[in-house]
């Protein structure tokens, strides 16, 4: 369990974190989501002890850790750019936490073998990090962070430096790893899709302030601020509220609350159709329809149709 209480951190005039409080349950997988400069990495580094807050407290397993040096916190940390020990082999990298704890050689060997298997790097034990791919390096860094079995694992944009395919692979893999190892995991990301897909709880940060915390679906469906609404996915103003693209219904006739829009473009995306619309005032929105619904309506470019929210609940009365 990690408790973050009223953390404030400034860098000169820049306020990186402004009175942030957050509780992270033991064994959970939490994403800290925000745009760059929102303070999310700083928050993670404060939990690890790599940065000191100006005020506020960090509690780990119920004990005040605010002034504790990183080496005494028992927290695993994975860096965006891997921070691999370049002068050590993969085996020595992973063994590091155990070596400095002076564990018996046999025990270290067994534990490292176990971790190599966990991160699927069995054949790479004697290589140097410079001869690994980005994804392999990051898996090595993960194994290294897990070696001493810390109760908490922190990941700072762990997949940020990797290409899209490796990213997706590692996401799935992190999810499965968490199911196996049950370590309290917090990862920082600016990618809302990544946060929604991997985490069971998401905390959204904006300009150093915590906007909202909740399950991914909760944030998507019931955002409490326009920032969260827009950051978690496309949303468009429709009358008095906002709707997501899949909540827009198009019709041939004016209904109650529907607005008149012109079809600018129709794009087929797999099983869905994306219809780009604009109303008379130049306001644009994109509706996402299923193929059969779109076919039934026989939509065509340049036509005038009526757009409304699927149901009243879909309309988010914000702003």
């Amino acid at each position: 369990m990690i408790e973050i209480r009223n953390i404030t951190k400034r860098f000169g005039d820049f306020v990186a974190l402004d009175d942030v409080s957050l509780e992270i349950a033991a064994g959970s997988l939490t994403a800290v989501l925000g745009p760059s400069g929102s303070g999310k990495s700083t928050l993670l580094r404060i939990v690890a002890g790599l940065e000191r807050p100006d005020s506020g407290e960090v509690l780990l397993a119920g004990e005040d850790a605010t002034g504790l040096a990183p080496q005494r916190r028992d927290v695993g940390f994975v860096f965006q750019h891997y921070a691999a020990f370049k002068h050590m082999t993969v085996r020595d990298n992973i063994a590091f936490a155990l070596t400095i704890r002076k564990r018996p050689k046999q025990e270290i060997r067994e534990r490292v073998d176990e971790l190599l298997e966990l991160v699927q790097l069995q054949g790479f034990a004697d290589r140097y990090p410079s001869r690994l791919s980005g994804g392999q390096r990051q898996r090595m860094a993960l194994a290294r962070a897990l070696a001493a079995k810390p109760p908490v694992l922190l990941l700072d944009e762990p997949f940020g430096a990797l290409d899209a395919r490796v990213r997706a692979e590692l996401r799935d893999w992190l999810r499965r790893l968490h199911e196996e190892v049950h370590v309290t995991t917090v990862f920082v990301t600016h990618d809302q899709e990544e946060a929604m897909e991997v985490a069971d709880r998401v905390a959204v940060l904006n300009r150093g302030r915590l906007e909202q915390v909740g399950a991914p679906a909760e944030l998507y469906d019931q955002p409490t601020s326009e920032f969260v609404l827009r950051f978690l996915g496309d949303a468009f103003r429709l009358g008095d509220g906002f709707v997501r693209p899949h909540e827009i219904v198009l019709g041939r006739f004016p209904e109650n609350g529907a607005i008149e829009v012109e079809i600018e473009r129709i794009v087929v995306v797999g099983a869905d159709v994306r219809v780009e619309l604009s109303d008379g005032s130049g306001e644009r929105m994109t509706a996402r329809l299923r193929r059969e619904d779109a076919d039934e309506l026989e939509l065509a470019r340049g036509e005038i149709v009526w757009a409304s929210a699927r149901d009243a609940k879909a309309l988010q009365p914000l702003g």
């Binding site: 690890a48 002890g49 990183p70 080496q71 916190r73 921070a83 002068h87 400095i100 290294r144």
Partner: protein, 263 residues
């Protein structure tokens, strides 16, 4: 292509005339009159003692400036403190100031009427015209090399690896020995080689403060000068040969180390 060839030729001729010709001359002259005079000079107790003094001064200056250089580099790259810019500039002072001037400063400081000299004299410690002055001068002129080599390597290294080590439970001491030092080791070795070369070849500052008493405070370099003054050219060539051979060895060591560092 033609232009490149021209450039190459100029560079080569320049090196040949300025560097290789004098060095080759020393080798040639040394053996011109056979091995006997060479052996005679090198086995002379005065010569042996001069090399001993040089080696002692080098043996003290190199470890001292290696430790100091690494600490300085760490402070300059990793820490923020008032006067950092001044420290950074002062490290280069021995390169900027002529060794003779450095010798003169030491002379004034440790002389009979100098600030430290009068106090040390009062306690029966002879610095000037003795081994301590030679060591001090040698230490002074060889300060910058390790720090100058290590600073850019440390900058490039960043501190993420050390932070990672900290989160893995490593104390400050463990981080230094297991992460920082192995990462900068080739820069340190290269700095040590340069420092050693500078110490062995030091002449100006030592010439001022040593007193050049043969068999006592003569170093290898001041001995060469003395031998020339006394028209013992064969002797001067022989001692120079040894110094030049060391220089060549240093050069070889550096060419071996450079690729390691780049890796």
């Amino acid at each position: 292509m033609r232009k490149q060839l021209g450039l190459r030729a100029v560079a080569l001729v320049y090196l040949l005339v300025i560097l290789l010709a004098p060095l080759g001359m020393v080798f040639y002259r040394t053996f011109q009159s056979g091995l006997r005079p060479v052996w005679q000079t090198l086995s002379d107790p005065g010569t042996i003692h001069a090399f001993e003094v040089t080696l002692i001064a080098t043996g003290i200056a190199v470890p001292l400036n290696t430790v100091f250089g690494v600490l300085c580099a760490l402070a300059i790259v990793r820490r923020r403190f008032p006067g950092k810019g001044i420290l950074n500039a002062f490290i280069d002072l021995p390169l900027a100031v002529s060794p003779v001037v450095i010798g003169l400063c030491l002379y004034l400081l440790y002389g009979r009427t100098g600030w430290f000299g009068s106090w040390l004299m009062g306690h029966g410690i002879q610095v000037l015209f003795a081994l301590p002055a030679i060591v001090l001068a040698t230490v002074f002129v060889s300060v910058p090399f390790v720090a100058r080599e290590v600073i850019p390597t440390l900058r490039e290294l960043g501190n993420e690896q050390e932070q990672a080590a900290a989160t893995l439970g490593a104390t400050r001491w463990q981080r230094f020995w297991r992460i920082t030092l192995p990462s900068i080791r080739w820069a340190v070795v290269y700095g040590v080689v340069l420092t050693s070369a500078r110490c062995l070849g030091e002449y100006g500052a030592v010439a001022v403060v040593s007193g050049r008493i043969i068999g006592k405070t003569e170093t290898a370099t001041t001995l060469v000068d003395d031998l020339i003054q006394n028209f013992d050219t064969a002797g001067a060539y022989a001692v120079s040969l040894v110094l030049a051979t060391i220089a060549v060895l240093v050069l070889v060591a550096m060419t071996v180390i450079r690729p390691q560092e780049a890796r």
